[in-house]
Each structure stands twice: as structure tokens, then as C-alpha cells.
Subunit: 435 residues, 2 copies
């Protein structure tokens, strides 16, 4: 008996969609050795069927009508690549109701409606895969839910936004100011025309939400994830952090501390010699700590046509392997702990803090700042005040604190900003130690 | 209908076996959320049933007779953890013939008999999984054959032996001599009583063979893998490499260059700022380059009870998911390219070379050395000869060459070693550039 052909339909043939088509056509012989059955691209729906694309689409595959894909009885797997959270959601739900398995790269959608889509996939008895929604060029969803399936996961920390990491890398390695690094990112195609979703940490928040569900078996609503972007980071912050032996990265963090779950996205100081600090340019990396596996890290390109299309096609293949034996739902969309781990209030999160000010250059500066910290029982691990031979119009003062809570730190900062010796409001960056 | 319980038997309950038992018992509730069906540890065979172990083995599970596990009709999955390549092979073949799926952590066995075991699993229609055989704490087999299933893989380069990386890290970070770093590794449990399999690169050769089969779809016999260990690396080599901006690592490399496959294991200079160079201590990392995915890297603990048991249990779960739907052979043991890529002769492999000598301190040294290189058309990219105010009993000279072949380099070294100005034979270390 000949093995059954598995038919694939794509809805949305923009950049990623074109990459998926190219990968399916060009890497056929590499994939064939893994597969043992033919994978056939049956139909592609896109509103611009005649647009010039980097790959020649075989005649007869293109349509402008998504319904022709959704209702094709031969198609087993539908790939949603239209983006957004409205039409994309309709497409996916219709596909599922039509008994089609679904693959998506849409992080905004999975982040917002993941739970609903999980239930829909379950009710329709179809597979719903979304590897490409988190760090396209890193098989991180697969690694966590299959490779680390035996583990109790304690923390996941990631550089999950390539735009931010590119900008911070240029600022760190070449001393650029934030706005010059941004210009450079746009010029080199590492930033969108409107980069605010990236710079404000929203994109990273979407991804850490999806990772959290996979690592800790509970769904955390977007509004419960503390999110802070990188637009407040200055070249001076980076220089001062460097003097202390740290690199600044936008980190997405989810971890269990004392039986509560913390989920947050913010600029973070990391020790320079750590693996995460070594991630440069538009690359992403995710570090997962678990027991018994210990520390693991996964690194690759986070976005772009190539990396993302690889993840989409891997998902297609994974689902296709279930078609012949009928082993759908072998891997549920999400899985949940029976007893949900409670969330920690962000006020109660504890970490070290890097603090920097422009102050007057006169007696009393260090006394006044340190008094506000000690009042709130916040310890200090290092202080740098650079020496100048003569009195200057200002000094630059950097403090690194011991661990304390957000609540205490915010109160301390409020008082410090009100001090008469302080010329600019506190630059505060949270610190992650990597043991 | 209640979901079917999947029964597991373990043969060999030493360090890794005990870790597997502990993981299955202690992480039950974490695994339960992924699984949806019960996984039951049914029987354990070990010659020392009463040995004190870090986990209490439930009463009635232990036997000294492997046949009781092999012939138990309830057991679906058998884990081979006896080690070695004789009895272990018998166990696995018997288990397969009895219709049992098999999981192993035995790299020596898979490296030597992988092809035979692949065919046996296929003939018996059972799953044979071996994730734990390569870098226990990194789900690298899964990442390559599933996560990167869409990709044409171009190269795989790994630090796959924790003992060697620990020793080289101590030499690099703390300036220790090789023998002192080795003593320290033994003291801290990072080296076996007889560490020669690790230090001579044999263990790395086993692993790169298994990775090669997964990445390039062909089996490379052990004797075709050029293998060189780290015992010839001196603290001085490491210091001189550092001056040029490089770190020394034992690297296992397999890559396609001009349509031919190179597979080799040897000490290698890597640029200090590369991700692989940042891998310290007993950790492992594997970098895989493919198209369309680009560069990816996977990092974690390479060995030890914890990391290895996580990989073994992940394999058990993966196979267990196939039991109810009967989707065995969903993932073949190995898969092969229809047209096998030819191997490159090691003589024809090209790379840069780091060369270091102790020479006389007199006129003509640089001329004589560089003449031998230029005679063979070998370019030089840098030279360091450290300045001393007065004539010394010897000089230390370091050269970095441009790309050339092994054959030319060996001929050049032979002539250079015969020069009258050379006091010690050439220290030669190959160089990997990381773009």
C-alpha cells in the first residue's frame, strides 16, 4: 500500500508564507528522508495572487478565496499566516470546525486567545501547533513540552525580541545612542516601520505568556505580566553597567519562587560572562532551568522569513506524522497543572537593582542617597562615583543594591528623586544573577 | 474508557537507572499534566538489588533476572542502562524481538551498532530511542530530527564532552597546567577513574557519529572519523591563543563542504566572543547551522545522573504517547538520504591553523619558519614573537595561518620541525572561524 499523501493549505502568502512555500518546494528531498510519505502543497489563498515573490508558485495553487482552502475536503492541515487577531482567529476556528489541523506563527493571537483555541482544538479533535509564534529559529516549544517533559521547570528566562537585542547590542558594542541604534536597526531591516510593539516589550510579553503556559501549566492573562520596554535605556546606563561587569538585555522572565509564579518583561542587567549576555545582534535565546535536567539554553534567530518558515514547516511535518496512524491530540495544545500555581504580586517580586543618577557634585550626595535606601532596609553591594580633579557641574553616581522588593525600591526611588542633590530622576534597571 | 496504562521496565539500576527511577516517582505530577495516561514502573533488574540508592525503590519491583523484565507481557517499554556493547546489545535485541520498545543512554553501543539496531527496530516494528546517548541534558536528537526537520543541515559543531570542557575551562580561566586541571576534575567528580575515553576524544567521536547520522542521513563508520584528544594542549598554547583572541575547546565537527561530508574531533581555536567559546565548565553545547533556519545552538549539562535521567524519561514518554494510538515508527531510529553524501578524505580538509614553537632566539627564525609555509603556498594571517630586552635561551613564536589543507600543513610541519632553530616540535591546533 502506498503511504497516504498529506495535503497542506496556506492562508496568507506574505513574507513568512512565501518562505514556507519555498521551504516545502526546495527542501523536499531533505524532508522526504524523515517522512516516508508525500507532503503536498494543495492550495494557497492570498489577496495578492500575482504579487512578485522570491519563489515561483506552481500554477493553479493560488486563489484569493480563503474559503476554497478552508472547505477543500482533501486538505488535512491549514497554515494560518494572515496575522492579526480577528480574521486570523475566524480562519482558525473555521478550519478546526471543518476538521482541519492548524499551524500558526501568530504570537499576538496565541497570546491573546490561546486558551480559547486550545479548547476549540480539543473539541474538534484536531492538532493546533504554534512553534513559530515564539522565537522562530529556536524549536523552544518542542524542547520544553517534549524534550523537558520529565522535568519540573523552575524558571524560563529569554531574550525573545530580536529588534530590542539588536538595538541594545549596537549600543553596547559600538557605544551608539538609543536613537542612532534604532535608525541603524530600521536601515538593516531589524525593526518594523512602527517598532513600538517590540521596543515597549509587548512582543516579548506575548511570547513569555506562551512559554509560561508550556513551562508551568497555567495561563497568565496579558494584564498580569509586568511589561517594561527598552526606550528608557541610555548609552550611559550601559556604560555604567559595563563597569560593574554587567550587560543590559531585555529579558522575559517566568519563574517559581517560594511556590508562587512571577512573570515579567523588563530591561535586565546580566553578568557579562553568562550565556544569555553573549547573545548578540538580532538573535534570541531562552534559558530553561528544571529538575532533574539542570540548566539548558536554546539559541537561534528569532524572526524573519527563514527562521519562521522552518518552524512552520516542522509543525506541519509533526502533525502530518499523526495523519496516517490517526494519533491526533498526541500532543495537546496546552496542558495544565491540576493545582494551579498562584501568581506573585509584582510589588512582592525581589531582585537586585542597578540605580544611576546625575547629581550635584557637592558633599552629602552619597549620604543622602544611601540614607533613603537604608531607611527601607535596602542593602548596597557596590557604589561607583567617578573621580574628577575639580568640582564639576554634576557627578554620575551608580549604586547596585542587594535583593529587595519592588515595593520598597519604588518607595526609595520616590524619596531619592525628591532629594535636592539629584539632578535627574533615577535610572533603575533590575538585575538577574546567574549562578 | 480509562486511558491505557503504559508499563516500563528498567534493566540496569546504577547511577543513571536510579536517576530514572527517582524522576519517574518524584516528577509524577509534572509529567501527568503532559500525559493524560498513567506511566507505570513495573520491574527493575539489577545484579545488586539491595545496594543503597538515593531513592527508595518500591517493594517488589527489584529482580536480579533481566529475563523477568524482557519477558514480562505487560511491559511495553524497556530501558537499557547496563552499559557496554555486549550484554547491552543482547538485551536490546531480545527486547525488540519480544515486541518491546527500547530506550537507551548507551552512546558507545549506538555509535558502534546503531545501524544494526535501526534495522532490528524496523524489522520488529518497535521504537528505539537514544536521546540520552548524546549530551544528556540537551534534547539535541529531538531538536535536530523534529525541530529542524524542514531544514537542509549544513554543519553541526559541538562541545560534547564535559570532562574535556571542564579541564580546558580550568586551564583557561585559572591558568592551571593540564595535569593539575585533571586532578581537579577527578576531585570534583567530572572525570572517571580512567578518563582516557574522554581525554582522547573517543567519547566525542561516538557522539558526533550519532549526530552525523541524524543531521546528514548517512552512517559514518567510527574509523572514518578523525579523532584527536586534548592531552597535548598546554597552558602555554591556551595563553598564546588567548592573545590572538581565541579560546581552545575540544570540538566535534560534521559539515558539508563543497558537497562532501567532513567528520572530525580535535582541539579547536574558537573566537572568544562566539557562543561556543562561552560554554564553560562541564557544560555541553551543540551548534547546528541549516537552511532556512540559520544558526541555532543548544546548551546544557552533558552527563551525570540528573541530566541523563531527564533525557531517558523524555524518551519513555515520547514512546508511551505512541502506545494507545499505535503510532509506532512515527519517528524512525535513523533516516537516510537516498543519495549518500560522500566523505571528504581528512588530508583534503581545509582550515586555518594555530602554530606555536619554542625556538632559538637568534636571527633567521621567522624567515626559516615562514619560508617553509610559503613554499607550500600557505598564507599567514598573524605572527607573535614576544619582545625581550636581551637575548634569551629561547623565544616563543606563534603563527596563525590562512586556510590550507591538512596535507600541506602536515608537510610544512614536518619540515619546520627539522629546522635547526626549532627547539620543540610544532604545537598545532586547528581553528574554526565563526561568522
Amino acid at each position: 500500500m502506498l503511504p497516504k499523501t498529506v495535503n497542506v493549505g496556506i492562508i496568507g502568502c506574505g513574507i513568512v508564507g512565501t518562505g514556507v512555500v519555498r521551504c516545502l518546494l526546495q527542501n523536499k528531498r531533505y524532508m522526504a528522508r524523515h517522512l516516508g510519505f508525500p507532503l503536498k502543497l494543495k492550495k494557497i489563498a492570498d489577496l495578492q495572487p500575482r504579487k512578485k515573490r522570491i519563489v515561483k508558485i506552481p500554477a493553479g495553487l493560488m486563489t484569493t478565496d480563503a474559503n476554497l482552502v478552508l472547505n477543500d475536503p482533501d486538505i488535512e492541515i491549514i497554515v494560518e499566516l494572515v496575522g492579526g487577531t480577528t480574521f486570523a482567529k475566524d480562519i482558525i476556528l473555521t478550519a478546526m470546525r471543518n476538521g482541519k489541523h492548524v499551524v500558526t506563527a501568530n504570537k499576538a493571537l496565541v497570546s491573546k486567545f490561546g486558551l480559547e483555541l486550545h479548547h476549540a482544538a480539543h473539541d474538534c479533535n484536531v492538532d493546533f501547533y504554534y512553534e513559530a509564534s515564539v522565537c522562530g529559529g529556536i524549536p523552544i516549544i518542542k524542547s520544553i513540552r517534549e524534550g523537558l517533559t520529565a522535568d519540573r521547570i523552575d524558571s524560563v528566562r529569554g531574550i525573545v525580541n530580536g529588534t530590542c537585542n539588536y538595538v541594545l547590542s549596537r549600543m553596547t558594542d559600538d557605544g551608539l545612542a538609543f536613537k542612532d541604534a534604532m535608525k541603524d536597526a530600521k536601515k538593516n531591516g531589524y525593526a518594523e516601520a512602527d517598532p513600538s510593539l517590540d521596543l515597549d516589550g509587548i512582543d516579548s510579553m506575548h511570547k513569555i505568556g506562551i512559554l509560561t503556559a508550556n513551562c508551568f501549566g497555567r495561563w497568565v492573562p496579558q494584564e498580569s505580566i509586568y511589561t517594561e520596554g527598552i526606550s528608557g535605556i541610555s548609552a550611559l546606563d550601559i556604560k555604567c553597567a559595563d563597569e560593574l561587569g554587567y550587560t543590559v538585555k531585555l529579558l522575559a522572565i517566568a519563574r517559581i519562587v517560594k511556590s508562587k509564579l512571577e512573570v515579567r518583561v523588563h530591561p535586565t542587567l546580566l553578568p557579562k560572562q553568562s550565556m544569555l549576555a553573549s547573545v548578540r545582534g538580532a538573535f534570541n535565546a531562552v534559558e530553561v532551568d528544571g529538575h532533574p535536567i539542570g540548566r539548558t539554553l536554546y539559541y537561534g534567530e528569532g524572526a524573519g522569513m527563514n527562521a519562521t518558515s522552518s518552524a512552520v514547516v516542522a509543525d506541519i511535518v509533526d502533525i502530518a506524522r499523526n495523519v496516517e496512524p490517526g494519533s491526533h491530540s498526541r500532543m495537546p495544545t496546552f496542558t495544565f497543572m491540576k493545582k494551579e500555581v498562584p501568581l506573585r504580586n509584582f510589588d512582592d517580586v525581589e531582585c537586585r537593582y542597578f540605580l544611576r543618577w546625575r547629581t550635584d557634585d557637592r558633599p552629602g550626595v552619597i549620604t543622602k542617597i544611601s540614607r533613603e535606601l537604608s531607611k527601607r532596609d535596602i542593602g548596597i553591594s557596590s557604589v561607583i562615583l567617578h573621580e574628577f580633579a575639580k568640582v564639576q557641574p554634576y557627578s554620575i553616581v551608580t549604586f547596585m543594591t542587594r535583593e529587595t522588593t519592588e515595593k520598597r525600591m519604588r518607595a526609595a526611588i520616590k524619596s531619592i528623586d525628591a532629594l535636592d542633590v539629584i539632578q535627574t530622576n533615577t535610572s533603575m534597571i533590575r538585575v538577574e544573577l546567574v549562578d
